[in-house]
Each structure stands twice: as structure tokens, then as C-alpha cells.
């Protein structure tokens, strides 16, 4: 008898808990009943779906992984991933709304906010009464986020905020903006701080929604801050720690983009399987041809691999262990797997896949944000190169 076997502990588990299964099933039921039926029409109209977002909020999906004392549902990051995947399976735009609201805007307040700030802002955000928008990117600073030009200058009890932010998710429909600004121009990243800004304050000018390739019903807009008076109490986190916190928020955001990518890729596979069974050519369903079978097998393998990477990153976050590398790996692989899957899904659908009669062309357009948002694939490789060099002793 191998004694090692007897002593083996079974900490590593690939099974979802009962909580996780219930969350997955209830979100799936909800999405199939209320989200999936009109998704093609909504995509065509390109309007923010206030009604469905309100219904998602009533289901508790806008505060899924925030603490119950702040109005959240109190579940873990894996639960968050399950929910995002289920929504993204049918409606990636909606999943993006939920993910960005939850993990970026609200996530930054949950991470760095004082007790007072959390009590003041989070209940409205976790219940979806208000939507959060996280304002980092500027026209001149994207991947190099530290190069931001927005400034906040101390003026007695207030900070005076000036600058332009762009590509802001919930930029035109949001109520609570978390804004990154330079508070000490003499310092580099350590001169950046974060602020909580309310939409109806003087000088806050949300722009009109941008026209995009995909993610049509997710709101993206420019937001201009013009001499906005921000009370001292709305400085979020320690002064000079805005960029450090931003990096942490982005790590969490990457898990969300990973889960979203898994959802899109799963949609691509499920729709392809359905079509391959219905579509007959040369006297048999095209799913019987090896050329189609192999494409779908590749999708299935990559979806599973991507999902496991996403779950690992989520698990590490829940264990409060470092997860920068793992989140970046999950985001990179899942988004590129979704890219391959959606391209193949359109190919499997042939001419029909190129039309708006089927879901896969939308999946392809929505997918493209996955390799760009929350750090492009190129930036993920930059981060990962540093991480693996560190791990493998390149720098020592």
C-alpha cells in the first residue's frame, strides 16, 4: 500500500460547489428567459438596455462578489466568473456592463475606499441604483496609463479636477465616476491619485456614446472634467497610491475579461454545433465532415483550457494570494481563444454566418474588444515576460 496515497489531501478540486452550481443555473435560466430572445434586435438598435440592466440588478448581479454589508450578495470571484460567462454566452455587451461596473468602478471603491466612502457609495452601486464608470484611459494615454494628463490640484477643502477621459465604459450612463488624476506632477506613477466623482457635480460633462465595431449595447463615451470641485473626502485611497491601486483593479478586471471571453467562445461553439447539425450538404449534416469536427474540437479544448486558467486566477484572488501573472495569462489565452473560436464559428456558418440572421457575426465583432480592453494582448505579453523572467531567474 502506498502510504503517500493515504496521506494525500484533496484540496485541489475541479468540481463546482453547490453554491456555484446554483448561481450558474439561476443566471443561465435568467439569461435564456430574458436576455437571449431579443439580443440580435438590441445589437441592431445599439441602445443601452436600461430595462434588462435593472432586471439584472434585481437578481443581485451588480453586486455579486461584494460584501453583504455593502449591499452585495457576498459571493466569491469564481461566482462572478460563472455569472459573467453565462451572460456573455448570449450577450457580451451586457456582460461587459456587469463586469466593468462590478470589478472596475465599484471594485476600486471596494479595494481602496474608506469605511465612510464604502457606506456612502457602495449600496447604490451593488444594488444597481447607480452605475459606476472607471475613468483611467485618456486620448493620449492608453497602454501607458501612467502618462495621463488629467490633474487634480489641492484648493483648501477641495481638489480641482481637470482633464479628458475616453473609452469610458458607462461614460454616458454612469452616475459615479472613479477618476485617476495627477496630484503631484513632479512624480511619475507615484504622483497619481484616485477620486470619486458624482455625475451631477458642476463641470462633469459626459459625452455622447461612441460608435463601435461591436459591444453595441455597452455604453462607451468620453467624459470631460472641467474645474470640478471634488471634496477632500472623495480622495479614494492614499494620495499617490492611485496607480498602484489601478494595477490591482486591472488584475481583477482581467479575470472578468477572461470569463467574458470564455462565454463568447462557448457561444461560438454551441451555435456552431447547432448549425452543423441542421445544415446539410452533400447529403449529410456538415457536422459529419472532419473539417468541421476538428474546428469544433479545437474550440472545445481551448474553451476548457481558458476556463481553467480563469478559475485559477479567480481562486488565487479569493485566497488573497498574488495573481497578477495568472490573471494576465487567463486574459491573454481566453481572449485569443475567443478570437479563434469566433472566426471558426463564422467559417462553419459560411455565408449565413456573415449575416445578421445568426449570432456568430456579433460574437466576432464583440470578441475583438477582448484582446484590447483591460490591457492589449501585447501588454499582457509584456507583463508576462517580466513575470516569467522573474520566476526563472533572468534578472538575478
Amino acid at each position: 500500500m502506498n502510504l503517500n496515497l493515504l496521506e494525500r489531501t484533496y484540496d485541489l478540486s475541479f468540481e463546482l460547489t453547490e453554491d456555484h452550481q446554483m448561481i450558474r443555473d439561476s443566471v443561465r435560466d435568467f439569461v435564456e428567459r430574458y436576455v437571449a430572445p431579443d439580443v440580435i434586435e438590441r445589437d441592431g438598435k445599439k441602445k443601452f438596455p436600461f430595462e434588462i440592466v435593472k432586471m439584472l440588478a434585481d437578481q443581485g448581479l451588480l453586486g455579486i462578489c461584494h460584501q453583504e454589508k455593502y449591499g452585495g450578495a457576498g459571493f466569491d470571484t469564481i461566482s462572478f466568473c460563472l455569472a459573467i460567462e453565462e451572460i456573455a454566452r448570449w450577450d457580451a455587451s451586457l456582460a461587459l456592463t456587469v463586469a466593468s461596473h462590478t470589478s472596475l468602478g465599484t471594485g476600486h471603491i471596494a479595494l481602496a475606499g474608506s469605511l465612510e466612502q464604502k457606506m456612502k457609495y457602495m449600496p447604490d452601486l451593488t444594488s444597481g441604483k447607480k452605475l459606476a464608470a472607471w475613468c483611467l484611459t485618456e486620448p493620449g494615454s492608453g497602454s501607458d496609463a501612467s502618462g495621463l494628463k488629467t490633474t487634480a490640484v489641492k484648493d483648501g477643502e477641495n481638489w480641482i479636477l481637470n482633464g479628458t477621459k475616453t473609452f469610458i465604459t458607462q461614460g454616458s450612463v454612469g452616475h459615479i465616476y472613479v477618476v485617476l488624476a495627477k496630484t503631484d506632477p513632479t512624480l511619475d506613477t507615484k504622483g497619481i491619485s484616485a477620486f470619486i466623482v458624482e455625475r451631477d457635480w458642476d463641470g462633469v460633462n459626459p459625452g455622447t456614446p461612441m460608435h463601435k465595431l461591436g459591444m453595441n449595447t455597452s455604453d462607451t463615451a468620453e467624459v470631460v472634467f472641467e474645474n470640478v470641485k471634488v471634496p477632500n473626502g472623495n480622495l479614494l485611497g492614499e494620495p499617490g497610491y492611485g496607480f498602484i491601486d489601478t494595477m490591482k483593479v486591472l488584475d481583477g478586471g482581467r479575470i472578468g475579461i477572461g470569463a467574458l471571453s470564455v462565454g463568447i467562445a462557448r457561444g461560438a461553439l454551441e451555435e456552431s454545433m447547432k448549425y452543423a447539425k441542421e445544415r446539410k450538404q452533400f447529403g449529410k449534416p456538415i457536422g459529419d465532415f472532419q473539417a468541421i469536427e476538428h474546428k469544433m474540437v479545437n474550440m472545445a479544448v481551448e474553451i476548457d483550457a481558458a476556463r481553467l486558467l480563469v478559475y485559477r486566477a479567480a481562486w488565487l484572488k479569493d485566497q488573497e494570494k498574488p495573481y497578477t501573472k495568472e490573471a494576465s495569462m487567463a486574459k491573454l489565452f481566453a481572449s485569443e481563444a475567443a478570437e479563434r473560436a469566433t472566426l471558426d464559428a463564422v467559417q462553419i456558418h459560411g455565408g449565413y454566418g456573415y449575416t445578421k440572421e445568426y449570432h456568430v457575426e456579433r460574437f466576432l465583432r464583440d470578441m475583438k474588444l477582448m484582446t484590447i480592453g483591460e490591457g492589449t494582448s501585447e501588454i499582457q505579453r509584456l507583463i508576462l515576460s517580466r513575470e516569467i523572467k522573474k520566476d526563472l531567474g533572468y534578472y538575478s
Partner: protein
């Protein structure tokens, strides 16, 4: 008001399943709350929202089926009774009714709600048999419930139309899935369901006659595919003649 809702776990008929050697094989192994029972829970929740009261769900099943109690609690039921059965015993409608009647014998309640049938067998017998065993007045195939005083006004779908029937407390109702659109548990409900009480009673603790099982499923068969219909070509009057001739020649038609 105290409501009991009898619920059952059934295979998800929308998930892939097939029949092999007379056995039902669930490829996806997905089990769900019987849809008719979900409507009964929803009806009880709506009555509780309007008139107050307490809802307890009762389920007979193996350990695997216990998760379905949690689903009911996540929808909003207050507590659950899990009547734990062995995996190798196959109950039929009468034995389910008999076990439940033993459980209910010393309980106080206003109404017992059941699904009108379960999606796995579609027998539709347990609710009526339970009412019979408990000597309760009952109404089947309910599509609407309203409370007046201590009675329920039950709208039931009859053969000729909808009937309104007053059912005094205590009584039993079997619910149609046409009655409502059962709510999907929200995340707070799922979180709270973990803290709600579920009492486990081994089925052998409920003294039930061992001869209660009256019927047995011998096996499952795939329903034969429908034969292709006959197509007629030609001018309308010629087609009509062809059809008339066919009907005339066919037995037991015209």
C-alpha cells in the same frame, strides 16, 4: 397561514438523454425542480407576500435530490423537510402519497400544494392520493389561487372551461404550470438559502407499509418516429378526389 409544498427532483428533459437497454440514461446528469412544483412554490410565495404566513417544502428523494430543496429555499420558501430515501428503491405514486400521508399525519397546516404531475412520469396521481389518504378536500389542475378569510378560491382548468371553487382550510391543491411564471432565485436568495433550516427524516422513520409500492416501471422505450405523411399532387378537384378515395378505402374513417 401555514403552507406545505410537496416537491420532487426530476431529470431535466431539456438536457441530452437517451434510452439504452430499457434504461433511461442521462447524458448530462442534470436534474431540476419539477416545473409543476415550481409553480406551486411560486403560488405559495405570492399568497405569503399578500397574506403572510410560512412555507415549508417537503421532498422525498436520494441525497442528490436535496439540492432541489435548496432551490426552493432560494426562491423564498422558509424551511425544508428532506425525506431521505435509498437509491435502490423505486417509489410509485401511491407509495409517495403513503409516505407523505404518514409525514403529514401529526402536522398542522392550512394548505398543502402539489404540482399537478411530475415531468418524469406524468402520472399526476400523488396529490389526489395524498388528499384521499389524509381525508382532505382537494382541487386539481389549479390555474389561479386567491385567499378569502380562511379559504382558498381556486380557479381550476376543467374540460369545459375554468371553474371557481372555494376550498376550506385544511385542504390540498394540485397546481398547473399555466398558473404563473416561477421566479428565478436571485443571488441574495441563494445566499440566504444556506442559512434556512432543512430537517432530514430517513424514510424508514416514517412507518409505511412495505406493500405500499403497487406499480413498477419495467423499462423505457423510445417512441417510434412518426411515419411520413402522403403528399398529393395535381389540380385541387383531382386532389380532393384522391383524398376522398383514400378516406373511403381506409378502415374506421368515413
Amino acid at each position: 397561514m401555514k403552507f406545505y409544498v410537496c416537491i420532487k427532483q426530476v431529470p431535466d428533459v431539456n438536457a441530452p438523454l437517451h434510452i439504452k437497454d430499457g434504461e433511461l440514461i442521462q447524458d448530462a446528469d442534470r436534474n431540476i425542480l419539477n416545473a409543476y412544483d415550481a409553480s406551486a412554490i411560486e403560488a405559495a410565495l405570492v399568497l405569503r407576500e399578500k397574506h403572510g404566513g410560512e412555507i415549508e417544502v417537503v421532498l422525498i428523494g436520494t441525497d442528490k435530490a436535496k439540492e432541489t430543496i435548496r432551490k426552493a429555499l432560494a426562491m423564498g420558501a422558509d424551511s425544508g423537510i428532506f425525506i431521505q430515501a435509498d437509491t435502490d428503491v423505486q417509489f410509485d405514486s401511491f407509495s409517495y402519497a403513503k409516505i407523505l400521508s404518514t409525514f403529514f399525519a401529526d402536522k398542522e397546516y392550512n394548505f398543502i400544494l402539489c404540482g399537478k404531475q411530475s415531468q418524469d412520469t406524468d402520472a399526476g396521481l400523488t396529490g389526489s392520493m395524498l388528499a384521499g389518504l389524509l381525508d382532505l378536500p382537494y382541487v386539481t389542475n389549479a390555474v389561479g389561487l386567491e385567499m378569502t378569510g380562511n379559504s382558498l378560491i381556486v380557479k381550476r382548468q376543467g374540460d369545459a372551461g375554468q371553474e371557481l371553487i372555494e376550498l376550506p382550510s385544511p385542504g390540498l391543491v394540485t397546481c398547473s404550470n399555466d398558473m404563473n411564471d416561477p421566479r428565478i432565485p436571485n443571488l441574495k436568495g441563494i445566499m440566504q438559502s444556506k442559512r434556512k433550516p432543512v430537517e432530514t427524516i430517513p424514510v424508514n422513520d416514517l412507518p409505511t407499509d412495505s406493500t405500499a409500492i403497487k406499480t413498477k416501471i419495467l423499462g423505457y422505450e423510445v417512441k417510434p418516429a412518426r411515419e411520413a405523411g402522403k403528399k398529393f399532387d395535381g389540380e385541387p378537384d383531382e386532389i380532393a378526389r384522391q383524398v376522398a378515395r383514400l378516406l373511403d378505402e381506409a378502415e374506421n374513417v368515413v
